[in-house]
């Protein structure tokens, strides 16, 4: 398969580009922020995403979805990133859907995701830095389990209908085995949600589970075998976050390059200065390389190929570095105006930072790759 978009994918990209730019441009985020919006996204827009079919991209055709892949999901995510559109698309239509594929719970949740009525959140992280450690306990109780522990950085946790919770049914916190993934409904007793406003004005929650009772049928996949499902969820989430971040980085670069073409100092366009041209050209190169790495990861995931997980880590790490560069260069090359709230470039920096941390930063993934290579 060639490593560029095929004709159908290019058409989807055109559609997504126009749709997101029209309905959720950066001004949309700015307005939500200025209105102190408590939801974190526009439910009406989420409905429109559903009407466009976007929420069903990764849902199999047998389950009434489009049965497409991570390449297509990434196309939509890139536009979400480019426009900084607040959206539960990544957690719901990409990560949660990937986890639920083939599970018993899909009949309950897929229709509501397809229609844009439900939002899912991911309760995975327990520490400020993403890592493999899962301490939250799930103890057998009657016909089901009791969950106890804390989670953090749960995007949309305060409004989600479905919360996917990674908990430990065996072993100790550092073990890779002994994890079970649960589909928990929002109104479960004993669950408290503490939403925190983040730098990018999105909302992510700290969640406390105090003997939260769930039925046995909340288990996604098999008890103690949640590692497989969690890996699927994380691979989808990381690839999706990488695609969204590519949009953020590309959006920041486009803003900046346009500014270089228009801004005049010393009577000439500042884009004619070689010092700035070289910085911009280097940035372009980093983003192009990241774009290739992301498409490679998406294709390998869609093909169920070996090596997909490593490609995902390469993609997340490379775009982490490239977008971090893009937003920093963006502000620097804008000069003073880049520091003002009135200009959008600062929003790109904030969103880029959040996505850099989500599902592991560049160092985390470089370390994973090193471990996989045996050093």
């Amino acid at each position: 398969m060639p490593l560029f978009l095929n004709d159908e994918q290019a058409m989807l990209a055109d559609t997504a580009k126009d749709f997101v730019a029209e309905h959720a441009p950066v001004s949309h985020l700015r307005k939500l922020r200025d209105d102190h919006d408590e939801t974190g996204f526009s439910p009406a827009l989420w409905k429109q995403f559903a009407e466009m079919g976007f929420t069903g991209i990764l849902i199999p055709e047998n389950d009434n979805g489009l049965g497409l892949g991570h390449v297509e999901a990434g196309i939509v995510l890139e536009e979400i990133g480019r426009n900084l559109s607040p959206s539960p698309f990544l957690t719901t239509a990409v990560a949660a859907v990937s986890a639920l594929q083939g599970s018993a719970q899909r009949d309950r949740w897929f229709p509501a995701i397809l229609s844009g009525d439900s939002v899912a959140a991911l309760a995975i992280d327990e520490h400020a830095k993403h890592g493999g450690c899962i301490a939250m306990k799930a103890e057998r109780s009657g016909n089901g389990f009791r969950l106890s522990g804390t989670k953090q950085f749960v995007a949309h946790g305060h409004v989600a209908d479905l919360i996917l919770v990674a908990a430990r049914t065996a072993g100790s916190p550092q073990d890779k085995e002994g994890i079970t993934l649960f589909a928990v409904s929002k109104d479960s007793t004993g669950m408290s949600v503490d939403p925190r406003r983040l730098a990018d004005s999105s909302l992510a929650s700290h969640m406390t589970f105090d003997n939260v009772e769930v039925d046995a049928d909340a288990v996604i996949g098999e008890v103690d075998q949640g590692g497989t499902v969690l890996n699927r969820l994380l691979a989808a989430g990381r690839t999706g976050a990488a695609a969204e971040m590519l949009g953020v980085g590309s959006g920041a670069m486009d803003l900046t390059v346009n500014y270089l073409r228009e801004r005049k100092q010393f009577g000439v366009h500042i884009g004619s200065f070689q010092a700035l041209q070289h910085r911009a050209a280097h940035l372009y190169s980093e983003l192009e390389v990241a774009r290739a790495a992301i498409l490679k990861a998406q294709q390998l995931l869609d093909g169920g190929s070996e090596g997909a997980e490593q490609a995902v880590s390469v993609a997340k790490a490379q775009i982490g570095l490239a977008t971090t560069l893009a937003v920093q260069e963006g502000i620097q090359m804008h000069g003073g105006i880049g520091m003002t709230d009135e200009y959008d470039i600062g929003f790109y920096m904030k969103r880029g930072r959040v996505l850099a941390e989500l599902f592991g930063d560049a160092n985390y993934h470089a370390n994973l790759l090193a471990e996989a290579s045996g050093y």
Binding site: P2, L3, F4, V257, V268, Q277, Y284, V289, A366, N367
Partner: protein, 394 residues
């Protein structure tokens, strides 16, 4: 369609298994294992010759060139499968050749039928080794400022002047050369000609480099007669050919970012600093540097695949080779810095049997030219800024 491709993949794998000698699937030990072909070919082993002969016979030294010119006649999808299967079996490249990577594509696009039939099959079979006469003492980054002249003498041109940084001019059989045919017009006064390095009036002088090797020469032309039929493309339009060819040269040089030095970086480091109790490379900072480098190297491998796919499908931006060249060469320099840091004082040995007479430090120094030859990194960044980002001229 996809079944056909899978059948082709299986066929290709079987053929390579049967025909690539095991010796040719081991990493190259040094530059001596590179096969350049030519009138006086140097083979480091009989297997190397056998491997070249078999691949040339099949047209697979240039899988995507037309069959009538010595190629395999494969479409992009099948040519990619051959590359992938060769990589899977770790087959060595049977033939390194500026004829394949640079002149060939230019002749396919700009050459006339007689030139294609004369030169391409010999390139494909590795019978003629080519060198490139581009840079001059006063025309480096400003290549179009070249002065080597070709005077019209009726049935031939009379070429006079000097080239520099001519790679392997002393070992090459023929040269593709940029010459000035009109002094009044800088870019539209250049022509692209081919001639035999055995022609009367051609002489070469190797340049000793910091690596202790002399891969480049000064090349002198003193009243060299070049037949008119060796003009490629139109008179005074050689710059078009030159630029097209430079794109391919940059593509080739960018491939250095992918080149495996035989074993992974971390193995070199483990050999000197060892592992800690958990089995990790014992120097945590070196480990981190290597791990972050590997991210970039693997991402660039995906970029190279994407670039070639786009190029073969005619979808690549014409200035994209500049990005590949820039990124690939900078990456390769970093790789060798890390190899030197990993090797410690062992990597400093210049003249010892253990070090293969300083193979690593000499290779490390050689990489410093990567971001200069074929257009410096700064020239590539200029091209990206102007042609891709469309930033204004000064």
């Amino acid at each position: 369609m996809s079944d056909d491709l899978e059948a082709f993949r299986a066929e290709t794998r079987d053929w390579l298994e049967a025909n690539c000698p095991p010796e040719m699937r081991k990493p190259m030990r040094s530059d001596k294992d590179i096969c350049w072909g030519g009138r006086n070919p140097q083979f480091s082993s009989p297997e190397q010759k056998l491997w070249l002969d078999r691949m040339a016979e099949r047209g697979w030294t240039v899988p995507d060139w037309p069959k009538e010119y010595g190629g395999g006649g494969l479409d992009p999808a099948r040519a990619k499968i051959v590359r992938e299967e060769m990589a899977r079996l770790k087959c060595r490249n049977p033939l390194y050749s500026f004829g394949i990577s640079m002149l060939g594509p230019a002749l396919l696009k700009y050459g006339n039928e007689a030139q294609k039939l004369e030169h391409l099959p010999k390139i494909a079979r590795g019978e003629i080794r080519w060198c490139q006469g581009y840079s001059e003492p006063n025309a480096g980054s400003d290549l179009a400022g070249l002065a080597t002249s070709a005077e019209d003498k009726g049935d031939h041109f009379l070429v006079n002047g000097q080239k520099v940084w001519t790679s392997y001019a002393d070992k090459a059989d023929w040269i593709f050369c940029l010459v000035r045919t009109d002094r009044s017009n800088k870019h539209n006064g250049i022509s692209f000609v081919l001639f035999d390095m055995e022609s009367e009036g051609v002489s070469t002088k190797p340049i000793l480099l910091i690596s202790g090797y002399s891969p480049f020469c000064e090349t002198f032309f003193d009243n060299v007669k070049v037949p008119k039929e060796n003009l490629v493309g139109e008179l005074n339009r050689g710059w078009d050919v030159a630029k097209y060819l430079l794109g391919h040269e940059r593509e080739m040089i960018s491939g250095m970012g992918l080149r495996d030095s035989g074993k992974p970086l971390h193995e070199s480091a483990i050999a000197t600093v060892g592992r800690d109790a958990e089995g990790r490379l014992a120097d945590p900072l070196l480990r981190a540097q290597i791990a972050l480098f590997e991210v970039r190297a693997k991402a660039f491998a995906a970029m190279s695949e994407r670039f070639i796919d786009a190029l073969k499908a005619g979808k690549a931006h014409p200035a994209q080779p500049s990005m590949m060249k820039y990124y690939g060469t900078e990456l390769n320099k970093t790789r060798y810095e890390l190899l030197m840091a990993s090797g410690g004082s062992d990597a400093l040995e210049w003249e010892s049997a253990e070090s293969g007479n300083g193979a690593l430090p000499r290779a490390w120094l050689r990489t410093k030219a990567n971001s200069i030859e074929g257009g410096t990194s700064e020239i590539q960044l200029n091209i990206i800024a102007k042609r891709i980002l469309e930033l204004p001229n000064q």
